[in-house]
């Protein structure tokens, strides 16, 4: 049995690592994803998610609500993430959950303050564009409320989202007071999860809603289906976990993703974890790999995650979580 278990873990590890390599390979030969927005829907919301290739549909923390409302953490917690892309983009994401009876309730938001290119052909903005900035002040937001509960062994959850992009007209072009252009959409997520083999499988349908209008032009929202599996194991003094995910957009774009975590705790309640992951990115300017680390002390967790972009540029995320 112990041999069987080792064999099983070895197979899973091999599969997960293969998925990471495959994701990176696919990313290298990819076409850019069809344009969708608002931008805040396309960005990883937490340092951990960024580090594991955003393969978090079966993951579990407050931020899981960005991927799968069914994985809303059943323990009360709060997290806040600060992110920076290049010199001109800052992002803030926050998420919280608490349990009331059989129901777990949560809320989350992500706000991105960035500079958009002036020309209309560059909208919607891809994540990689944040590194180069632009001339127009812009702002993107997604905010949601979520609920989850367990029914007949299945964890089910739903979120209602509000998402918008707002682009301020460049005041140097127009002598009059600049007026912002806003495009907003109300969206719905539904998800489920269930134990599978030695881990958890998660399935989520995200961003169900109508296209939104910006300056009179309709833009698609990234309606997508995500299917993934995550598992955590012990290996001697270490904890390690695998996260896999395949995301399929309604417009046919498919993104595989996988991530790996290795943690070590030297005393009860304290741990350090390193992470790496890969996924097919929206554009070729965004590198497929991510990496990060975290430090946990009892109820406090600090996560750092990095994403990589062409020109040796990096986006940094720092998440503080309190449980």
């Amino acid at each position: 049995m112990r041999t069987d278990r080792f064999h099983r873990i070895f197979c899973v590890a091999a599969l997960a690592l293969s998925a990471i390599v495959l994701s990176a390979h696919l990313a290298a030969a990819q076409n850019a994803a069809p344009d969708t927005g608002p931008l805040a829907l396309l960005l990883p919301a937490s340092a951990r998610a960024a580090a594991i290739g955003n393969a978090a549909v079966a993951g579990r923390d407050e931020y899981a609500v960005f991927q799968n409302p069914a994985r809303l953490n059943a323990t009360t917690g709060f997290g806040m993430t600060l992110a920076t892309y290049g010199a001109s983009t800052r992002a803030l994401a926050a998420a919280s959950a608490s349990t009331i009876g059989p129901v777990t309730l949560g809320w989350a938001l992500q706000a991105v303050d960035f500079a958009a290119p002036r020309t209309s052909t560059t909208y919607p903005v891809a994540p990689a564009s944040l590194m180069s900035g632009g001339e127009s002040d812009a702002f993107s937001l997604v905010a949601m409320v979520s609920g989850a509960m367990t029914y007949k062994g299945f964890r089910i959850g739903t979120s209602v989202k509000y998402a918008e992009d707002m682009v301020r007209r460049n005041s140097t072009d127009l002598p009059v007071v600049a007026l912002p252009s806003r495009g907003a959409a109300w969206l719905l997520d539904i998800g489920t999860s269930h134990p599978l083999w030695t881990g958890i499988a998660g399935l989520s349908i995200q961003n169900v809603g109508q296209p939104y209008l910006l300056r009179g032009t309709p833009y698609s929202v990234p309606t997508q289906l995500a299917l993934g599996w995550s598992a955590q194991y012990a290996w001697g003094p270490f904890d390690y976990g695998f996260h896999t995910q395949v995301t399929a957009r309604r417009n046919g774009w498919v993104s595989p993703a996988a991530g790996f975590e290795l943690g070590w705790s030297w005393i009860d309640g304290y741990n350090v974890t390193v992470r790496a992951g890969a996924h097919r990115t929206e554009t070729a300017d965004e590198k497929p790999v991510g990496a990060g680390f975290s430090f946990g002390a009892d109820r406090l967790n600090l996560d750092y995650g990095a994403s990589f972009y062409s020109g040796s540029q990096m986006a940094h995320r720092l998440t503080v979580r309190w449980r």
């Binding site: 049995m1 920076t84 005393i267 009860d268 009892d298 600090l302 750092y304 720092l318």
Partner: protein
């Protein structure tokens, strides 16, 4: 670029700074132990028999019996000497439906057809040899527990016992199943009867079915007691459709760090009668962290007029798992080192040596009839050289015990058993209560006792001024002593657990001008005490340091003619303050988890009445009238007192190898 560098630097500095700061703030606590007195306490060795922890003369033979089809263990598939039939344990064991499939896939069977597997160590010879079954407790079902008692098997078989370590791994990971564990032990005994009755096989007619012991560890410890209780029943208490027909001659039960009350027959804690009982528990048990086996110890009753005894050994710095060579020091699972302070534990070899010593000694005494080992259960100092270096709190009671006060019957603090009255003098604390466990919550020992606190110091600026020594006196009706036929072979029993409580000095007497004769006598004694106490106070100027001073007091017996005799309690054992236990590495974790960082384990003291008669020849034990605890040795302290009683005429074999410290 400079912006990137700055941002990176900021994040890295913040993360590293926080990590280092929090790591430092979360330092593990330093090792904390009670002062080790083992060099003094274990300095004696009055038992002259050979050490029962040493191998005996028999050549050891090993074998397996079982299904012959086991999917996971080759030894129970290919190497069984006897093939056994599967039994249906499902009336006693429930597997959650969500787990049933996986468990059946792994084991190849469900609860309706579980195997009777065991690994056996037996002596080469014609026998008949006493039979001992040992069963493990709950543990990772796939990390098989039954091989973990091989060290006991090798020892006991060499000393003329058959030891079978029963496989119950397949019910590990369930809950409320200890009745199933017990029932399986009895089904194994049925199997052993067949082995013995069979005309063929290596154990044919070599098994002494009149001398059986059942032993268990953790949940197995509760199961062992349950097996002894079920053994005499005709029906399963929770469903009389299940008939029992066992009635084996189970003479002895050994419980190693047992749980208690996980299964309650008919919703009652398991009653137990008329067996010898040995309980082992470690102070640093990271699994069964409260010594709940003491409840079973308390519940054991001797009602058949036969000779039995019960004993407990509470080993300081012993854990839960080191008595099983598979479990080792992983009381909290494979990552125990993260949470438990493993450096606080006694070496594995020492813990097993202690297990070998007391288990072998107990089985030699109760199954082989080797009474030369009985004194080590009365007072472990009689075998001080055999015990590994540690501190042991021990309990002992034999079937001749007659209760003077056990504090269970009523709420009147001035009465003991029928015919016994209680009075006190100058006590600061006098109350009866249930003895708590150290764990959080309301779980307690289900055993009441009396709290006696005193402070002989008189309040005021003169810290050497002492009053009359406080005392606690039990007066016994003449008729009771007469009906019990107390003799000079009698023994006084006291169970004492000092606490850390220190009452405040006494208020000044209201009138010091009129002195009665008794007060004059007391003043004289107080003057003697004053000098000792002054020395003690000078040595111990800080309040907390007084806690390390061992408690001592005088036991004064008076006969009906008014003749008194006194002995110090410390002559009959170590009267220790509670032993500090810090299980966890993280500072503050013990305080979060436990109400107290110690367990109250009352130490048994057996005081031969002959010693009093020798000290004061006029004193006549057969006319015993009163027992007075006179707190004239340690000027301040609090003790928990329980199980005050007398064995009117103690068998000499218990009192052999007397100690003269």
């Amino acid at each position: 670029m400079s912006m990137h560098l700055s941002w990176r630097t900021t994040i890295a500095s913040l993360a590293v700074g926080l990590a280092v700061g929090l790591s430092l703030a979360a330092c593990s606590q330093p090792l904390k132990f009670s002062k080790d007195d083992s060099a003094t306490v274990l300095a004696f060795q009055t038992i002259t028999a050979e050490n029962p922890a040493e191998p005996g003369a028999f050549k050891v033979v090993r074998m397996f019996y079982g299904s012959g089809t086991d999917k996971q263990r080759k030894e129970f598939k290919d190497s069984v000497t006897y093939k056994t039939k599967a039994v249906d344990v499902s009336p006693y064991v429930t597997v959650p439906p969500t787990a049933a499939g996986d468990r059946k896939d792994f084991w190849g069977f469900d609860m309706k057809a579980v195997p009777l597997n065991a690994r056996v160590w037996y002596p080469e010879g014609t026998g008949p040899f006493p039979l001992v079954l040992v069963v493990h407790g709950n543990h990772n079902a796939e990390d098989f527990s039954d091989p973990g008692y091989g060290y006991l098997g090798e020892l006991l078989a060499s000393r003329g016992f058959i030891l079978a370590s029963v496989d119950e791994n397949f019910i590990n990971g369930l809950s409320g199943e200890n009745d199933g564990r017990a029932w399986l032990m009895l089904k194994h005994l049925e199997q052993w009867k067949r082995f013995n009755d069979s005309s063929a096989g290596p154990l044919s007619h070599k098994i002494d079915m009149d001398r059986i012991a059942v032993m268990g560890h953790s949940r197995g410890g509760e199961a062992a007691a349950l097996a002894a209780a079920f053994n005499t029943l005709k029906f399963y208490p929770d469903d009389a459709k299940q008939k029992f027909k066992f009635n084996f001659h189970i003479r002895s039960v050994v419980a190693i760090a047992p749980v208690d009350g996980q299964y309650k027959p008919a919703s009652k804690y398991t009653p137990l009668e008329n067996v010898n009982y040995l309980l082992l528990h470690g102070s640093h048990d990271g699994d069964v962290s409260t010594a709940v086996g003491m409840r079973q110890y308390e519940r054991l009753r001797f009602t058949d007029g036969q000779e039995h005894f019960k004993a407990m050994f509470f080993m300081y710095r012993a854990n839960h798992g080191q008595w099983n060579s598979v479990w080792q020091n992983k009381d909290n699972g494979p990552r125990s080192g993260r949470s438990l302070e493993l450096a606080a534990l006694v070496p594995i070899e020492d813990q097993r040596q202690m297990g070998k010593l007391v288990i072998s000694g107990f089985l030699e005494a109760t199954l082989h009839g080797k009474s030369e080992y009985l004194p080590m259960f009365r007072d472990h100092r009689t075998a001080g050289h055999w015990f590994p270096k540690s501190m042991y709190t021990t309990r002992f009671m034999e079937s001749g015990f007659r209760t003077l006060a056990d504090y269970e019957d009523d709420i009147d603090v001035t009465t003991g058993a029928s015919g016994v009255t209680i009075e006190t003098d100058s006590l600061a604390t006098w109350k009866e209560n249930v003895i708590p466990f150290r764990g959080m919550g309301t779980d307690d020992q289900r055993n009441n006792a009396v709290w006696i606190g005193w402070n002989n110091r008189i309040a005021g600026p003169d810290t050497t001024k002492m009053g009359r020594p406080a005392s606690y006196t039990l007066t016994i009706a003449d008729s009771l002593v007469k009906s019990w036929n107390v003799t000079d072979k009698g023994v006084l029993h006291l169970s004492v657990a000092p606490t850390k409580d220190k009452p405040s000095p006494r208020a000044l007497p209201k009138d010091t001008t009129k002195k009665s004769d008794s007060t004059k006598k007391a003043d004289s004694l107080a003057a003697t005490l004053k000098a000792d106490s002054a020395k003690s106070a000078a040595k111990n100027p800080k309040k907390d340091e007084a806690d390390t001073i061992p408690v001592d007091f005088t036991v004064e017996l008076t006969d009906a003619d008014g003749h008194t005799a006194r002995m110090p309690i410390s002559r009959y054992g170590a009267v220790r303050r509670p032993l500090d236990v810090h299980l966890y590495r993280r500072k503050g974790r013990d305080e979060q988890r436990f109400t107290n960082t110690f367990e109250y384990v009352p130490q048994s003291f057996l005081l031969p009445l002959a010693d009093f008669a020798a000290a004061s020849p006029e004193f006549r034990p057969e006319r015993l009238k009163s027992i007075r605890l006179l707190f004239n040795k340690t000027f301040v302290g609090t003790i928990i007192l329980d199980d005050v009683g007398i064995t009117p005429s103690m068998s000499a074999k218990y009192m052999a190898a007397p100690l003269k410290p």
